[in-house]
């Protein structure tokens, strides 16, 4: 994987994903199986080669940080509450049909999505995510 995550929970527990992407508690679960989305305070996506932070989200404030710049997508006057982490990898498997003599599956593309859900002042659940290619 191009990016590996680090999830810091409210009780201080840290889940750090490795390339094996294996849960410490579940036989064939991924590392994310060990994450409790509602308890995460800070979620960091790191470059798998050099460990540098690529993107982060602070679940306490709803702020994202990318390339050292922090920003919010919420209304300052009406911040969301009960934020819960959202993280997934979006996979595209592409088959090119009709290429004689060559395997058709020509691409497997993955984008990484981080963010959160939360409730607005009307109690309606909202979701904010950013994607990293």
């Amino acid at each position: 994987m191009r990016y590996l995550f680090e999830a810091i929970h409210s009780d201080g527990r840290k889940v750090v994903q490795t390339q094996d992407d294996v849960s410490k508690t579940r036989p064939t679960g991924s590392a994310f199986s060990d994450v409790e989305p509602g308890q995460v305070l800070w979620f960091i996506l790191r470059d798998a080669e050099n460990g540098s932070s690529v993107a982060e989200v602070d679940l306490r404030t709803g702020k994202f940080t990318v390339g050292g710049a922090s920003f919010s997508v919420e209304d300052d006057a009406a911040p969301l509450r009960e934020r819960s982490l959202v993280y997934f990898r979006r996979h595209w498997h592409t088959l090119n049909v009709g290429v004689f003599g060559e395997p058709d599956e020509i691409e497997h593309r993955v984008t990484f999505h981080i963010g959160y859900t939360g409730r607005d002042h009307n109690g309606v659940e909202r979701q904010h995510t950013i994607s990293i290619s």
Partner: protein, 180 residues
């Protein structure tokens, strides 16, 4: 080991599964081995259906948000591409049938045109932890030593007499899903 994905294909009356498929060429034979150039479709006839599906193994937590469609490459005159309908309930999954060249009416979604708004309008794909014909839901979670299957992503190229001889244009099919 991190999650791994492959396309698989079923052929024959016995639903014989071939793993790790990397091609989806429509042809006038039901197998996973013959080159399409050796079994071309005669204009006015249809291809054998391609009964393919996705298979996920390794370590994973949740899979959801599946979509499948024709995303690039225009098909010529006299060619119609059909696929399985969108999953809206568990009963929408296709039960396997021995592939034939008869126009399969269960392939009710027409994907002849490129879907440039993918995944809007694409066939929704569901998942099962038992098989490609097992109980399907829009998302599945790994509760133990689970693997996951998509519903059958069955396609058939149907032709009329006006279809041009020779290879079709290269067509791109895309399967998309979310996983963590």
């Amino acid at each position: 080991m991190a999650a791994t994905f492959e396309f698989r294909e079923a052929n024959g009356a016995g639903q014989t599964i071939t793993n790790a498929r990397t091609e989806c060429n429509w042809k006038n034979i039901d197998d996973s081995t013959t080159a399409y150039t050796s079994s071309p479709i005669t204009a006015g006839n249809n291809s054998f259906e391609k009964w393919q599906f996705g298979y996920l193994s390794g370590s994973w937590n949740n899979i959801s948000n599946g979509y499948f469609d024709h995303t690039a490459g225009a098909l010529g005159t006299g060619l119609t591409l059909k696929c399985q309908p969108s999953m809206t309930t568990g009963t929408d999954k296709l039960a396997y049938a021995t592939p034939s060249t008869t126009a399969n009416s269960s392939l009710s979604k027409t994907i002849t045109s490129v879907n440039s708004s993918f995944p809007t309008g694409a066939a929704v794909v569901w998942f099962s932890k038992t098989s490609q014909t097992g109980t399907m839901t829009s998302s599945v979670s790994n509760t133990g030593t689970d693997v996951a299957y998509t519903n059958y992503l069955t396609t058939q190229l149907q032709t009329t007499g006006s279809a041009a001889a020779g290879d079709t244009a290269t067509v791109t099919l895309t399967l998309r899903y979310d996983e963590n």
